[in-house]
């Protein structure tokens, strides 16, 4: 892997982005878009949308959008540099932090923080689900798919892939 300025630039961008990504990868998608399309001019708006759709459709964490951006800019080396910059240092920090955190298992402040964060987390997850629904669903049929999957996941222990598979087939036939 030869080291080029663009790889350094990618590493720098995603390293700073990872420090901002409190609340998860989806929370920084708008910021990634801003930097990649409008500040750096690495790709067009349409390119970015396609990469986003691809990262959503493929299995695996949504943060893989980062590797796709790197790939688009600088091939496989770009993909690897970007994903490592986005996940590596943050993971090391998380490891160190939880290590320290666990030593204070019985501390009243830690217990208060834990109890205080719990409802915020639930609100955030529900908000992500809502935002996803509003962003993606553009027809009565797609809302019905979202509602059906929600009902299925709440009431049965069926593997969600069954639901996603049926949705994919319906979508492929143009019924969603």
């Amino acid at each position: 892997m030869t080291f080029s300025p663009v790889l350094f630039e990618l590493a720098l961008q995603f390293l700073t982005l990872s420090m901002l990504s409190i609340g998860g990868a989806n929370a920084v998608i708008p910021e990634i878009h801003l930097r990649v399309v409008e500040v750096k001019h690495w790709m067009t708006d349409a390119d970015f949308s396609q990469l986003f759709a691809l990262a959503q459709a493929a299995p695996g964490p949504n943060v893989l959008i980062v590797s796709l951006v790197g790939w688009k800019v600088a091939g496989i080396a770009g993909a690897l540099v970007s994903i490592v910059a986005m996940c590596g240092p943050a993971s090391v920090f998380t490891y160190w932090f939880t290590h320290t955190w666990d030593r204070f298992r019985e501390a009243p402040l830690r217990i208060a923080i834990q109890r205080g964060l719990a409802p915020v987390t639930v609100g955030l997850v529900l908000a992500s689900g809502y935002v996803l629904t509003r962003t993606i669903d553009d027809s009565v049929a797609s809302y019905a798919v979202t509602a059906a999957m929600l009902a299925l996941a709440m009431t049965t222990r069926l593997h969600p892939l069954w639901g996603l598979g049926v949705a994919a087939v319906l979508g492929a036939f143009g019924w969603v």
Partner: protein, 185 residues
């Protein structure tokens, strides 16, 4: 390498099991991996209880970095320290990374095919429903006194309906929530 034992019954999880468990999560996680991670950790393998998962995800969300990657680091560390964290994270990321890059190289030929686009949209719609179900399931696993329901509702309205910036919303609401939690024990 000192690992802190956790309260759940499943204290014996091998590094290999961590790798395979998160590998499955990564490979099956379409449109967002967290619901699949919760299913594997809480409902299937029972490595964590519902409240333990909430605790892990709370931490993962408020630390920098992708949530699910943080979850794999925290869970891996609990069972096997550095090696566990590495095994879980590698299991989660490696295959999806290969797949998404392979897809990207062939995507150009298929992006315009209606059937492909239709299937992708429908899968995303279903995945949104899955994310909502995870939020509701997590809600069932926390204490539900009026203030906790109130905080969850305010967060949902601020981020979901009003689309306030995440960092500022959390900077205001987290201290409030922690302060109430500290006073109501």
């Amino acid at each position: 390498m000192d690992t802190v034992p956790i309260a759940s019954s499943a204290a014996h999880v091998s590094t290999g099991a961590l790798f395979v468990g998160f590998l499955k999560v990564g490979l099956t996680g379409f449109g967002g991996v967290l619901p699949f991670a919760r299913r594997m950790l809480v409902e299937q393998r029972r490595w964590l209880t519902g409240p333990e998962f909430n605790e892990v995800l709370s931490l993962a969300q408020f630390l920098p970095g992708p949530n699910i990657v943080n979850v794999s680091v925290i869970v891996g560390r609990r069972f096997h320290g550095k090696l566990g964290a590495l095994a879980a994270t590698a299991g989660l990321m490696l295959m999806p990374l290969v797949i998404v890059l392979a897809l990207a190289t062939i995507h150009a030929q298929f992006a315009h095919v209606d059937a492909v686009r239709g299937a992708c949209n429908a899968v995303s719609a279903a995945a949104a429903g899955l994310m909502l179900s995870m939020g509701l399931k997590m809600g069932r696993a926390i204490e539900r006194t009026p203030w906790q329901i109130g905080i969850a509702a305010v967060v949902f309205i601020a981020i979901g309906l009003l689309r306030f910036p995440l960092l500022w919303t959390l900077a205001v609401l987290v201290p409030i929530s922690v302060a109430i939690a500290g006073r109501t024990r």
